[in-house]
Symmetry: none
DNA sequence: TGTTAATCGAGACGGTACGTCTAGTCTTGGC
DNA sequence: GCCAAGACTAGACGTACCGTCTCGATTAACA
């Protein structure tokens, strides 16, 4: 599904039916492959076009920048995960530890690591992409997380007046920072400690 | 002071006295100017060399990459701030709020914002630079912050067994993340709320 | 008209109609100007591209080397002189003296001298260029000269079994050598003496 | 022995005894090796200095240009051949054929061919070197050749009033031209034909 | 014999140009 | 009118050398 302004929505698409779905898929696929192979900074539009068997203009026609292509390429992967729901065993601490440990594992997996890092670097430098990132990737996941926290509020495990946005940041930002800047090792124990500290701040 | 492997320490420097201090200073100065003028992604080694009145080889001789030059350029600025000491009024909450509000203000200042963002993007993508970053920029400041937290521990305002590294991350990572990804506005009130929440987790 | 292997013939041209005639002409024109201004050894592809308002790649795309560009630049000048015919008054000695005196004059003219010398130095060092030189520049002129010698044979002024290739060399090589190595002054009298000696060797 | 203006003569040498003969020999030796290995156009002063274990300045101090070094390097080889004498069996035709066949063989030997060609290209482009070339390399050999022709004059095999300089050019220039421009194959038969034609022009 | 000044190896310096790569635009011809 | 293909201008990349300029460290002549 389209992401960039040029093609923001399948229903609004300028020339419906004229765009080659074949080319679009080939471009995104080539982009994913190349990011894995050479890394984001060495990725070039030339190489994408060549790999995809596509004219460069076809890329420039539909995407604003290299970052936008990469964004779409990996957005396409996470799409379909729309109905994200976090586990809810009734024990918020156990559930959060599980989720954060999963995140730690994801960050450790080089297959995911490279493109996610690329995406984050690009997002850091491009406010427009950042907005896309929030709307299309972060927001749905964050909403699911907040829903789990609300459930904990109803269960009396978290203060009723807690700022859930801040709570999410307290939970995820330290992990994110360690990963992005490689400032310290990311371990399951770290995830646990993080959850324990944050819950201490959130309990009634 | 030197940062890159090629010139790791003035005392260990390969050919002491042979390197032109004049050129080194001109390069770092030109780099700072150009980052401000055109931004990091549009910064080129060619332009730095031209602006500094220096041969390109002189840059390649002493720095590994564009990122390394930028790093040194801004490192040189923060140097001299070696003996960082945080305010200590005896009230850890008030002191932390002041410090975090100052950080928020710094991130809001476009003069600092652009190069720091550039540096962070570069550090995110280059493990070697990341190590330099931790050692030379982050470590001294973090140590000062931890010293203030230790003082609070002695005053009984923070638990004696608290993990201070984690405490620092809880305080700063959410702020860092909001700034880097522009995921939400950075306000003094946010800084206050952050401090309040984190202290709740750390109190005895 | 094309010279280099990459574009050997307008009819065989790889992508007919794709190459920019405008750029090609600008490049050859700029080359001629620059050879005159700074001389061949100081001629650079960078400068040609800049003067022609052309990307460097456009030069590298269609020519193998600086020498090849220079070759084409001056080949383009002599083209059109395809139907060279030497004077034929019936007196072979007078006619040859006239032609060799003209060659002497040409070598003395600094406007022609510089590029021809550049071309000869390049041809001396590059067998491929040398082949082009023979085919496209030397051959037609040599053929015209041999035709005049054949006419003299028919008139009984030159032996019927004379080796005309050798005859040409005897006539022109001494002149060429004096010019190239500047081993002695080139004068009209020298041209006359040369003709007289060579004809003595060729007469029946 | 010195060649360039900076060191024109051992007796006039500015600081007699100060110059390192060791360095001079190493430079010329390295130059010969490198010309053979990479060819003249790819020869660089940097490489010569590195190979010779010499500072670049030591080369620039004593030679005007790359061409001057190469010139000296190969001049040193032919020196000692001062007292060149051509064979004199009494039969000028046989003797000249032998000498020209030897020249043809020399031009065919790749060991000699490469540096001589390099030297000729350089001499063609540098009038000052050309003068050196004439004085130090060509003159002695030409004098020996003319001496043989004079002997033939005395023997009545060549006209007494023949211009011997022109005679030499008629003999050697065609051969030189064929070799330099690779305009036709150089064979012993060609040498013979050349001698026969030229002698026909010179006989009484 | 010790002084002193030129030469030496070494290599950093400001530069120019190389030949390659990519950006982003434009043009052609096929579908 | 989109598409693949690829030529175009533009300009940065990182490398190779240029010729000049310090640096000490020899080193040879003179004092």
């Amino acid at each position: 599904m389209p992401t960039t302004p040029q093609r923001p929505d399948p229903r609004t698409r300028p020339n419906p039916g004229r765009r080659s779905e074949r080319s679009r898929a080939a471009i995104l696929r080539a982009t994913r492959e190349l990011v894995s192979e050479v890394g984001y900074p060495r990725l070039s539009i030339e190489a994408i076009a060549a790999r995809a068997g596509v004219g460069k203009q076809t890329i420039y026609r539909w995407w604003r920048s290299k970052g936008a292509v990469v964004f779409d390429a990996f957005l396409a992967l996470s799409e379909g995960a729309d109905g994200v729901v976090l586990p809810d065993t009734g024990d918020i601490e156990a559930d959060l530890k599980e989720v954060l440990r999963a995140t730690v594992a994801e960050f450790a997996d080089p297959v995911f690591e490279a493109p996610i890092r690329a995406l984050n670097m690009e997002v850091a430098g491009d406010p427009e992409l950042a907005a896309q990132y929030r709307e299309r990737l972060a927001a749905p996941v964050d909403e699911a997380k907040k829903e789990r926290l609300r459930s904990a509020q109803r269960a009396g495990q978290i203060r009723a007046d807690a700022d859930l946005d801040l709570a999410l940041e307290l939970l995820y930002a330290p992990l994110y920072q360690r990963w992005l800047l490689r400032s310290a090792p990311l371990t399951p124990e770290y995830a646990d400690a993080l959850v324990e500290h944050v819950l201490r701040a959130l309990r009634p």
